[in-house]
């Protein structure tokens, strides 16, 4: 029979843990609402930008475009992998799932750029080629994420890698986040198809406007094509990365809230079980005592 005092002590410690996880759940819920809001409000803008880019590529010949961000190349033989994870743990299997996907496509030619402490730790632990790491605040601004995308563009222009892909957790709803691989550079048909597919999935969830078919028209450019693409494409990269960061943040806080909620529920169940055991043990000891007294009394009476 378990010691009464031990059980009492355990109940107390489990209760304390439940209080902490409950508090963390509350905090995560607040942050989650803010992060979800940010991710959702950006979506119309981002998907319209995707549309714009898709229209452009559908309508202008590839030869006319000379911007390096559009060109497929194999000069350096390296691929950049941007890994967007959370800074802190206690968010369920979120980072683990993402890392598993990353490692599935791992190759010695990959250079890693991590956004978030967890990703950096994992990549460093596995002695992968870590090119740079960034940490963003809890509610990242466009300016903050621009530092990362600026770095990517600069490195790309300096020929440090040929392609850029982003791994992040896409926010579907509070209960579900999907690890996604998103090829960002070279910006081309494949990238836009993926963007469109994702965009449409997102739109189906949040808006009921159906995207129109791509109009078959030739676009004019003002001031001129090169100048405009020179502005539009980096902006596209900045915005895509920003969008992914917001999605990842929304996923992180949702996952954390769910993880903390189930931790709190588990702790409460454990307290219930322990209380039952405690009461049983207490009752047993009382019964024992009565037994002792009554048997002693019976002896005396004899």
């Amino acid at each position: 029979m378990a010691n009464l005092r031990d059980i009492r002590r355990r109940i107390k410690s489990v209760k304390n843990t439940a209080q902490i996880t409950k508090a963390m759940q509350m905090v995560a819920a607040t942050k989650m609402r803010r992060a979800q809001q940010a991710a959702v409000t950006l979506r119309p803008y981002a998907s319209r930008l995707d549309d714009l880019a898709a229209h452009l590529f559908a309508n202008i010949g590839k030869d006319e475009i000379s911007h390096p961000l559009l060109k497929k190349r194999t000069t350096s033989g390296k691929n950049a992998v941007v890994l967007i994870t959370s800074d802190k743990g206690l968010c369920g299997p979120l980072n683990t799932n993402l890392l598993r996907d990353v490692l599935k496509n791992d190759s010695p030619n990959n250079v890693y750029i991590t956004v978030g402490r967890k990703g950096r730790q994992a990549i460093a632990r596995m002695k992968k080629n870590l090119l740079a790491d960034f940490e963003l605040s809890d509610s990242p601004t466009f300016v903050e994420s621009k530092v990362v995308s600026k770095f990517l563009i600069k490195q790309f222009e300096e020929n440090a890698f040929d392609t850029v892909e982003i791994y992040y957790n896409r926010f579907v709803n509070t209960l579900s986040q999907i690890p996604v691989r998103y090829p960002l550079v070279p910006i081309g048909a494949e990238v836009l198809e993926v963007a469109k597919a994702l965009g449409e999935a997102q739109r189906a969830e949040h808006l009921d406007t159906k995207p129109g078919a791509i109009p078959a028209v030739t676009y004019n450019f003002e001031p001129d094509a090169d100048l405009l693409l020179g502005k539009l494409l980096p902006h596209y990269v900045h915005l895509e990365l920003y969008e992914k960061v917001l999605e990842a943040r929304a996923s992180e806080h949702s996952a954390r809230m769910v993880a903390m909620k189930s931790a709190t529920d588990n702790a409460k169940q454990l307290v219930k079980d322990l209380t039952l055991e405690y009461n049983k043990a207490r009752q047993a000891s009382i019964t024992n005592e009565i037994l002792e007294i009554s048997s002693a009394a019976a002896m005396m009476a004899q």
Binding site: H55, F142, V143, N220
Partner: protein, 137 residues
Amino acid sequence: MATLKLEILTPTGVTFSGDVDTVVLPGADGLMGILPQHMALVTELIPGELQITQKGKTEIVAIGEGFAEITGTSVGVLTDGAVAEKDIDEKAAEEAVKRAEDLLKSNTLEGEELEATQASLARSLVQINVKRRRRNG
């Protein structure tokens, strides 16, 4: 009469969405008026006034940097900030200008922050201009 479907989108949401008669955009090469059946065009926008004419009424929206995609039937404006004239808070905009100017004067900013501050200064200035012109004219 044919109308244009105008959408003004910013990273913080949809500022305007609806059918309009004409739009005047602050393009990088100057103001441009867009009527229905305009030829397909993609243009860069600079901070300035965007004029919407809808059923004979004209509305003005102060916008920041961005891009516009124009087809014969629609105009999509993607900008980093947009405020309708009636929503402009002149005081807040003036304060924002002062803050940004002070920051720029102090010369402590660099890189991203500098760019962001300059952009927000330009946006606030446009807002103030829109408001003042309306009052005087």
